[in-house]
Symmetry: D2
Subunit: 262 residues, 4 copies
Amino acid sequence: MCRFLAWSGAPRYLDELVLNQEQSLVAQSRNALIGKTAINADGFGLAWYSDRNNPCFYKDTHPAWSDANLKQLTHHTRSGLFLAHVRASTGTATSRNNCHPFGYGRWCFMHNGQAGGHDAIRQQLDGMIPASLYGDRLGATESEAIFLIALGEGLDQNPIAAMARAVARVESLSRDSGALPFMRFAACWSDGERLFAARYASDRHAPSLFYRKCKTGIIISSEPLDADNGEWIEIAAGTAIETQGTVLTSHPFAPGVAATSP
Amino acid sequence: MCRFLAWSGAPRYLDELVLNQEQSLVAQSRNALIGKTAINADGFGLAWYSDRNNPCFYKDTHPAWSDANLKQLTHHTRSGLFLAHVRASTGTATSRNNCHPFGYGRWCFMHNGQAGGHDAIRQQLDGMIPASLYGDRLGATESEAIFLIALGEGLDQNPIAAMARAVARVESLSRDSGALPFMRFAACWSDGERLFAARYASDRHAPSLFYRKCKTGIIISSEPLDADNGEWIEIAAGTAIETQGTVLTSHPFAPGVAATSP
Amino acid sequence: MCRFLAWSGAPRYLDELVLNQEQSLVAQSRNALIGKTAINADGFGLAWYSDRNNPCFYKDTHPAWSDANLKQLTHHTRSGLFLAHVRASTGTATSRNNCHPFGYGRWCFMHNGQAGGHDAIRQQLDGMIPASLYGDRLGATESEAIFLIALGEGLDQNPIAAMARAVARVESLSRDSGALPFMRFAACWSDGERLFAARYASDRHAPSLFYRKCKTGIIISSEPLDADNGEWIEIAAGTAIETQGTVLTSHPFAPGVAATSP
Amino acid sequence: MCRFLAWSGAPRYLDELVLNQEQSLVAQSRNALIGKTAINADGFGLAWYSDRNNPCFYKDTHPAWSDANLKQLTHHTRSGLFLAHVRASTGTATSRNNCHPFGYGRWCFMHNGQAGGHDAIRQQLDGMIPASLYGDRLGATESEAIFLIALGEGLDQNPIAAMARAVARVESLSRDSGALPFMRFAACWSDGERLFAARYASDRHAPSLFYRKCKTGIIISSEPLDADNGEWIEIAAGTAIETQGTVLTSHPFAPGVAATSP
């Protein structure tokens, strides 16, 4: 399990959310309050949209709390759309290539969750990645595989439906392997214009996911960043949200249904 | 605060204590049960005596729990005298040079504790290190400084008294700075023949330190490695122990008194 | 391209070959004299056989010349069979998982070379790895893939023929992709009893590979470790050698022929 | 010895100089053409002025050529004043704390050179650092010490004279130690408004230093970034330059004289 947050809205310094909150993402890396894994210290990553076309990534393998670069970069970088992630490995190695967010062109993606039987299904998972995208398979996580499969499913055309189809395909592998839980999934992805998030599980235990509307934008986060709990709205399992600037819309996120569609 | 353990006795594989115990040192790196800091993930280090004259060191900056090299090396290395340490930084950077144990010739040393006013006294502390040993000052921790000062105080001739004098000198700096606590100190050091440990504080809060006699040797540890609590003996504050093979002797460790001696 | 060396014979300290030679492996990491790439500083690795059943690995991503742990471990470790490798990436990331030697059970393997069209054939390469071994696919190099494919081809039963079949299968992928060179291959592998090395190319440019018989054993190396050139024997392209202690036998290594066998 | 470059002028992307030149700084990290050390791969660092008050730092210990973060950050970051450095250690460890540029408040500083007898004078050097700045002594390099001493000599009031006095003081330590060369010094420093560079040696071998005037600013570099050699002007030994935007002024840089002033 991992923790993540994202911002869509007026440009702001990254450290305002990543570091300078009561339960900031870096605080969550030492002491997450929700979820099975309190310590999320197996690497971290940032992606922010600059005035270049593609997102800028910074990733490293140390705990987020001790990385001097992270403090520097988040203090000096301002963006209207950014994603940040702290990782707790569920088995694969601590390496930069296994750190979220993952990127392809304009897109980036980060994830918290698991698919049952990961070791048993990994080779099939790798086989599901479109051939033209396999050169972009840098690490060994199922998270990166889901992202590349979603790109192949048409993320550019239909960001939510493509992601649902990718999740459905991976869940079906997991079901075939017979290892529970088949799919627990919370994720956030963006093309630099819109920010998407989805929450889903094949059982009753979808990973936590919240959002909060602020005056100048919207925060999406694995857990509330402060004790103003009334301000934080839990995203229901089976739901995706889409934000563009400060406008938020909600959609069903139903991988199971999508999976049976042609 | 940090956590450490050491072994003196018949040669055994390091992973038997470092990894394969209920509350092994690596378990303590994620979840220490005693002390203020549950997470000790700002680097780690090993020192073991091989058939060469000097100890062999392995140190790195990642959390001990995710380091594949640590698993490999402790699984394949057997020694009759070894020390292992997981670090929680109290301010100085996460770098190999700040990881314990520290070494000089036959000697190695590791430490858990703090001296008040570290930033204020650091330059004086560095000035206390004997000129001939300053080239061996690799990092910025007060721990390494105490070790080098102790070498200058005659660690070779009188390992316990020299350490007490070094601690007294550093405590006096801290007292002059006025920052509490003046000195909290638990440490372990060895010349390859004998293994020493001491526990002391200028207040009532000496860092935890235990030992356990086994059939083939003696374990010293910041906290019990298992629930056989009856087997683990707490070292009293103001006490040093010395082990040679399986023989253990106890000594007073009174830096304050030593400090007033000529 | 990379550089490597291995030792089979009487136990000796690893630093005698890895560090303390005129053109030691660490010297080659800064300044290789043969081959296209003078700098081999994208990580390194060691594997040695201890008194445990399996080899012990130490790998890291820094240049070999600046790694304090490498100096310590090679100075204190003695073994009768060890392999050491310094890496020059041909594209894949600098990460521990991409550092040689790779291991499985008793076996370890290291490699210098390339297969044309790596990016284009990577997914097929991953698909060639036996399903039961895919959980051991940790990185993204073709080297590790060749090793896992060779295990599937029967490395345990026939170490040289199985390796030739694996190389042939990868070469055939490369030929289908049309990207030159189809296969350049120098490698070393061991089961802890025997040490194997092979040199081969689909063109006239097989990577360099030498051996030298010493009183107490045999060194295999990408380039001579000293200027006693008369002592260093170049392994001919299309040849494998097998050493057991100080006994050396030579075999043809002809992936092309093997590839056409049923 | 090390290599560095700096830019003062209109905002531009860092990768234009750090990566995308014939003999870019990253090219110099593999293959410096001037100076004793062709390989500068013991860490690197960037400092750029953002719209915050202080410079932003990014440093890491890997070779610059293999760092994915460096490519990302320099591609997405634009600044009108930035410094970049690749390090070849002359003895101290490869650690982030030993990577240039060093910072204090608005100031940052980077250096290429050496003072004779470093190990012998290190403790005295540390003693020269003003007490109030010793908490900012993070690493063990003489470079960082020179910077902190210069701050104490009044870098804010007189940036060039204060640096000359600091260099003179360190040179005098080196002269007392008797180890040649007493001082070789090329450096670059900035307060975010002005960019300074100086070149000096106590013998005839001052480290190389060049500048080039472009339409929108000035590049300072250890060696020319391209073959337009007519455009690159060598800074004479004993000279400092000061740039503010595109305006460049030249000053004598004479540590020896300054050293004898009261």
